[in-house]
Symmetry: C2
Subunit: 336 residues, 2 copies
DNA sequence: GTGAAAGCGCTAACAC
DNA sequence: GTGTTAGCGCTTTCAC
């Protein structure tokens, strides 16, 4: 990190700094021989323009701040992959902050990076933030004219570009798929009831049931609030409703836990009970049986978020914000 | 991003820039009343010192470049989590690049960030890089005096700080555990034979077998080279060796595939066959039966890597590099 | 064809 | 107690 500077090159060449700078850019002003001399020495010392100096001069960093609730979650990891690909292609770097679903960490990250460290933000709202409806930190950032794109977990309250999937439609489709397969009692298991996306999925589930004339049962919704509670909650569900023949879970840990318990209770999958999960991650492919899921197309979401942000950075004037919807997709495997 | 500057504050207050700067820092030189006036206005405009300007002035970025082979891999994601935690605590930000196990992307990332964008690097070598033994890009970076810490997939050829687990010992322990449970024919399945860590794990496996006087069989090592080949390779293994009663896999997809095939062939787990995987990830906890694994303590690795790097950045002189070994741990579940 | 100077936003040594 | 100046490394306008 003892980088050579224009100043040092200029001194060694007995030229001025500006001449060296121009020579390196093949300026028409500079004598061809000088250009060669300069380039030769620059090469020798592996000269590269200092990024920080350029950032200061250009008043931009070509860097995007990405704030993600949980990097161990396959969905978020894959969105990040998409963001990184698109950003790199457009010449941007990614600074990553992990909110761990905490409001405080999210707010702090936003604050730390809003000192000119980045040109804009891509984020998905932390669970705690969404539960507490504390959006002031987002408003602050937008108030400072930082471009911002929210994905997946977004909020109506915030005015910015967004990338989402249609959770309502996806849940509707999943539920309807179960109905098409003559399922008579379908339960929904959700760990994310506090989130807007969780609420949309419930609505889609209910709508699908209501729109089906042959379906006789009431919606049956089970909430899981603690990581430790999966097994007990699902056990209770099976105990109280031993005629369940379909499960739609808003996450795969729930779905797979349900399959395990169903199997241990003697159900055959998918003969006696069908199960659909959410997110096309590794567990869904490796579970037994492999799990039918709603795939959110996380890579596309990431790419779209990045391209929206970069466009916004380029033309920071436009007043109209867009909400892009990425198609979700039912991937049918052996659990249905 | 229309940040207010000292200059603007100074103009509005009819003071000089340096007075404003000092006032904001409670300098003893400045009149208390002036300090208050300055602070009030600064607060009003939410003044924050421009990070880029500070970086230029201080000749450091307080940013670490992290280059990771695959963010969808739970192990790497968790290491990243550890790096982020430690780095944030010490006031550093993380720029992330994903090499996708490609040499070209790894080299390019290193190049892009070595223009003063970061103060140092943390990375795990891309698979392709390790297969091709192309380490010139690392040497370049070190030659430029950039501090660098490698974790998990490291190379003897490169002189820098490292954080690893003892793959040999871990594999030895896993194999020995199977031997203690009277397993008579233990196979090793590896997807990472090209990697140094893969080779160490094989050595540990072989050593454990050799040191056990009662073990009669030869080491039985199966390599998987393509993502599509898991099922066929494992099927062949079972066909050729129907007396296998133990499997140690260097990754969990192999381990779980093996369990699936074993089950479908009528084996009971762990009665007829025991299986051990590598990495304490979600799949290992949710598989049926839950998989016994070697846990690499990824979070600790990340933290250690970050703290090593930050120490190195602080005192860039020291000539001696350390290799920290993080304890791996056998987590026993129901597959053994 | 080359160089001086200003400026990006900030800090700090040094005047006054 | 306040201001001037130089400098971090670079680009670019304007002189010569």
């Amino acid at each position: 990190m003892s980088h050579i500077t224009l100043k040092q090159l200029a001194a060694e060449l007995n030229l001025s700094i500006s001449t060296v700078s121009k020579a390196l850019k093949d300026s028409y002003e500079i004598n061809e021989k000088t250009i060669q001399r300069v380039k030769k020495l620059a090469k020798k010392y592996h000269y590269r323009p200092n990024k920080t100096a350029l950032n200061l001069k250009n008043r931009q960093t070509k860097t995007i701040g990405v704030i993600i609730p949980n990097i161990l979650n396959y969905f978020f990891a894959k969105v990040l992959l998409g963001i990184e690909q698109e950003a790199n292609e457009k010449g941007y770097q990614i600074i990553i902050c992990l909110s761990n679903n905490k409001y405080s960490k999210e707010a702090e990250s936003l604050l730390l990076l809003s000192d000119g460290s980045v040109d804009g933000f891509i984020l998905s709202i932390a669970k705690e933030t969404q539960i507490q409806h504390r959006y002031n930190h987002f408003e602050d950032i937008i108030g400072q004219d930082y471009p911002m794109v929210m994905f997946d977990r977004v909020s109506d309250k915030i005015n910015c570009d967004k990338v989402i999937i249609n959770d309502y439609d996806a849940a509707y489709e999943a539920t309807d798929f179960l109905l098409q397969h003559q399922r008579k009692k379908i339960a929904l298991i959700s760990t994310i009831n506090d989130l807007n996306i969780g609420k949309s999925r419930i609505k889609g589930y209910i709508a699908a049931l209501n729109n089906n004339k042959n379906y006789k049962n009431e919606p049956l919704i089970v909430e899981i609030h603690q990581k430790t509670a999966y097994t007990t909650v699902v056990n209770t569900l099976f105990k109280e409703h031993n005629d369940i023949d379909g499960i739609f879970a808003t996450d795969n840990v729930s779905a797979i836990t349900a399959m395990k318990i169903a199997k241990s209770n003697g159900y055959q999958i998918p003969k006696d009970i069908s199960v659909i999960g959410f997110s096309n991650n590794k567990i869904s492919r490796l579970s037994c049986p492999p799990l039918t899921v709603i795939s959110q197309n996380a890579l596309e979401m990431g790419k779209k978020a990045a391209s929206l942000l970069i466009d916004r950075i380029a033309t920071n004037s436009t007043p109209h914000f867009t909400t892009a919807t990425i198609d979700a997709e039912l991937i049918v495997r052996e659990s249905t």
